[in-house]
């Protein structure tokens, strides 16, 4: 019997203030407190709270047959604590049922895996710590930001103590192979890989309310029948998506919450399928083949590559300059500064600078608070320029103090 694996991504970045060049050197109010609070509370009301309630109801009703997994970024967890403690409580309530697995990811929802091994592992450890303290469970499964995966990243992840990882069932990697089976890393066969079935996942996440879609409206019956029609040898259907799909990307009016209720009920009661967590599946299933991924893949766009975040000149400049200050910022050991630096690592900021949507992808437009990638870049760079100035100031100040010989060589 096939299993279904639900993994929901929960993330909110710290949105940046409108920061002009004449603010550089003047102040470090980088983040828009008002916007962050407002958006968090909006999404809590529209999505997190009602969706959690639906899931709690499903768990109570179906018991062992219904389990789900979440990956909640550190930035989102922190914002729950600051702006929406109710949401945190409702996730804790879900955790208490024992039917929910919390995955590990980078604390800042960053792309550090592509740039700094040290920063990557520190953020993963921070996140694991945070999950333990909030939900009382130690994550054993890893999912990287934007499902970014490559052989090298798989190696790092395994060394950090995870034996299962989630990523995209990218066509150019799978070829004729099915995403609905367990795989393992070619570089490190001990690392198991669960792959997103993007067809079925995106039917819910992107197409659910699209009236031009020839399958609209999507009903539980239809969806269950599609799962039943997959190859009999398939073992697991991985439905990976943003949690904000429910109530945020797809409004309540579209019937998305009814679908979230009726689809599992039908799959369990009529077809006898079970919803399992990644760690359960990892124990249950054996890898059928190795996957060789020399170049990073992700879950974004047609290309399933990194070009939504990196690759154009602006994204690369911002990304490189951000990590250029890593060693200096570590030496300074200023908690506020390193926190700001990490907030700036959130993949979202690079996504806003993407110029691909000029030609395709309405999705990019929908999620972008800036009217153009150029505006996003200038604002980000103004902030980063200020941080760089502050870091450099501190970095030159410290050794002078320690030396303790000259008193007047510190610039004001």
């Amino acid at each position: 019997m096939k299993s279904i694996c639900f993994y929901f991504q929960v993330h909110q970045p710290y949105r940046l203030s409108s920061y002009r060049f004449f603010d550089i050197g003047a102040h470090d109010h980088y983040f828009d407190e008002y916007a962050n609070r407002y958006i968090m509370q909006q999404v809590a009301e529209k999505c997190y709270l009602p969706a959690n309630e639906v899931l709690l109801g499903l768990i109570k009703k179906h018991g062992e047959a219904f389990k789900v997994s979440f990956s909640i970024s550190g930035l989102a967890l922190e914002q729950f604590e600051q702006y929406a403690p109710k949401v945190l409580k409702s996730f804790q309530k879900l955790a208490e049922t024992g039917n929910v697995e919390f995955l590990a990811e980078t604390w800042a929802h960053s792309l550090a895996a592509l740039k700094s091994k040290r920063e990557f592992s520190e953020q993963v450890k921070m996140h694991v710590q945070k999950i333990k303290s909030l939900f009382g469970q130690k994550p054993v499964t890893f999912r990287n930001t934007e499902l970014v995966y490559s052989n090298d990243i798989g190696n790092m992840v395994y060394k950090l103590g995870f034996d299962t990882m989630l990523t995209e069932g990218a066509k150019h990697i799978l070829g004729w192979k099915s995403p609905n089976l367990m795989y393992c890393s070619a570089a490190n066969p001990k690392l198991k890989l669960l792959l997103k079935n993007f067809q079925l996942s995106d039917d819910i996440a992107f197409r659910f309310s699209e009236r031009a879609w020839n399958e609209w409206p999507l009903t539980a019956e239809k969806f269950v029948s599609w799962i039943e029609k997959t190859n009999p040898k398939d073992e697991v259907i991985n439905l990976f998506m943003d949690y904000e799909t429910f109530g945020e990307h797809q409004w309540a009016e579209t019937g998305i919450f009814e679908f979230l209720k009726s689809f599992p009920a039908l799959a369990i009661e009529k077809s006898g399928m079970h919803f399992k967590t990644p760690s359960e599946l990892s124990e249950e299933l054996q890898p059928v083949a190795q996957l060789n991924v020399p170049y990073p893949i992700s879950w974004a766009d047609e290309e399933r590559d990194l070009t939504a975040w990196l690759g154009n000149e602006m994204q690369d400049e911002a990304f490189n300059k951000l990590y250029d200050i890593e060693s200096k910022i570590r030496k300074i050991k200023d908690d506020k500064m390193i926190r700001q630096w990490r907030y700036l690592q959130a993949s979202d900021h690079f996504y806003y600078m993407c110029t691909k949507w000029f030609s395709d992808g309405d999705v990019h437009k929908y999620f972008n608070p800036y009217s153009s990638p150029y505006d996003a870049f200038i604002n980000y760079m103004n902030i980063l320029s200020d941080l760089v100035i502050r870091v450099n100031k501190q970095a030159t100040r410290k050794p002078a103090k320690r030396a303790g010989t000259r008193k007047t060589d510190v610039p004001a």
């Binding site: 002009r20 060049f21 004449f22 550089i24 154009n312 000149e313 602006m314 690369d316 400049e317 911002a318 110029t355 000029f358 009217s371 153009s372 150029y374 505006d375 870049f377 200038i378 760079m381 103004n382 320029s385």
Partner: protein
């Protein structure tokens, strides 16, 4: 398919976007196998029409017994208008005024009933009179030539279009390159407004150069949305002269404003933004190229802000000097309060210069690789200037994508659209 076109300017005798746009569109239509008969008030002798058949209205003989002649000539005496009402104000205009004083507007008596009008062209003091006389001549041209469509560019030629339509019965399309609201803000010249409105009402179709202009046409002139179609302008491929090497003699980055120094172009916002940038980074030079009625005030403002050693005025530039100015520029800024289209940012991008354009411009509708700001948002303009000058990848972006984007905004596409409009109008008639 043959179109009778009425224009007011033809290269190289242009004072702004109108002549450039007519030229680009006309060439594209020729390529699309549309024959064009292009009428201008007068020819200077050095026009380069290529395959375009240019007719000078000054060379057309008018019969004074004609009804059209009588109806307009009677009005001409009362059409003299005050110079403050003139829609355009440029050095070109000054040049024409001087010439006009020297030669004088006169009617040339050929025989008892035949006359020729001597047109000055340009935008002189007797503009309104010329507009009326142009209409008289138009009616003659329309009677003596065969064509399928009449196409009139901007209000100066609308009376001509209306007369031509009357005598020929052929469909008329009027082309709004700018509205009176763009030129004058809310203090519009009522007479110009009336002619614009009459032209659009008499027309079978109205072409607007942007959605922005289309909205103005619908909302402020009350024209039926059904007959107003947006056709964005294109840009000419660069002239060879652009490739010559331009030597810079200063080390500082150069930020350029290039256009008429009039209310419409928002020069004061450029100055205030320059002041903000200079406070943070003194190693920048600002250039304001162009002339216009606000120029003296702008010079005073720059002096008052104490930045005259960093802010330069060049006066009116044309031809190669425009290209040279772009070649020297690191950023081009167009903070227009109201810009129906705005070809100059495209010319800047063609020379790989990053552009900052106001959201209140039609060209913002067709550009992705441009920084767009509200014209009044001085902070945003300053921030955009600073960003382009300080973050190296921005230059790379514009070099790599901006130029390519502009090269795809071709007159050919505009030409095809206009040809389709002609077709529809002809079909509606048959």
């Amino acid at each position: 398919m043959k179109a009778l076109m009425f224009g007011w300017e033809f290269p190289p005798h242009i004072s702004g976007g109108l002549g450039t746009a007519c030229y680009g569109l006309t060439k594209a239509l020729l390529k699309a196998d549309v024959e064009i008969l292009f009428v201008v008030p007068r020819m200077f002798g050095d026009e380069e029409p290529g395959n375009i058949r240019l007719i000078s209205a000054s060379e057309v003989t008018v019969d004074v017994r004609d009804e059209v002649y009588k109806s307009h000539e009677n009005k001409i005496s009362i059409m003299e208008i005050d110079s403050t009402l003139l829609p355009y104000s440029t050095e070109e205009e000054y040049f024409h005024l001087v010439e006009q004083i020297e030669s004088g507007t006169r009617l040339e008596q050929l025989n008892l009933h035949a006359r020729k009008f001597k047109f000055m062209g340009g935008y002189g003091k007797n503009l309104m009179e010329e507009v009326r006389r142009y209409a008289i001549v138009a009616s003659n041209i329309a009677r003596d030539n065969t064509f399928d469509i009449i196409h009139a560019h901007d209000w100066l030629t609308y009376l001509a279009g209306i007369e031509a339509r009357k005598v020929s019965g052929k469909p008329l399309v009027v082309h709004m390159h700018a509205t009176e609201f763009d030129r004058s803000g809310d203090n519009i010249n009522q007479l110009v407004y009336t002619i614009e409105k009459a032209g659009m009402e008499a027309a079978d179709m109205v072409i607007a150069v942007s959605h922005l202009t289309r909205n103005v046409v619908i909302n402020r002139y009350g024209i039926d949305p059904e007959k107003v179609i947006t056709v964005h302008n294109g840009v000419e491929p660069p002239r060879d002269s652009i490739s010559f090497n331009i030597k810079r003699h200063v080390d500082e980055k150069i930020v350029t404003f290039l256009g008429r120094i009039t209310y419409q172009k928002g020069p004061e916002y450029f100055i205030e933004a320059a002041y903000k940038v200079l406070q943070k980074d003194p190693d920048v030079r600002f250039v304001m190229a162009g002339s216009g009625d606000l120029l003296p005030g702008m010079i005073r403002r720059v002096a008052k802000l104490g930045m005259a050693t960093r802010f330069h005025f060049t006066g009116f530039l044309k031809g190669d000097d425009v290209d040279r100015m772009f070649g020297l520029s690191d950023v081009y800024v167009m903070p227009s309060v109201s810009e129906p289209f705005g070809i100059s940012p495209l010319e800047a991008m063609r020379s790989s210069v990053p552009v900052i354009i106001s959201k209140q411009s039609g060209v913002a509708e067709v550009l992705n690789h441009a920084l767009k700001v509200d014209y009044w948002d001085v902070d945003a303009i300053a921030d955009a200037i600073y960003g382009v000058l300080h973050y190296p990848s921005m230059h790379a972006m514009f070099r790599n994508y901006g130029k390519a984007e502009v090269e795809n905004i071709k007159w050919d596409q505009a030409g095809m659209k206009v040809k389709n409009i002609y077709k529809r109008m002809m079909q509606a008639r048959s």
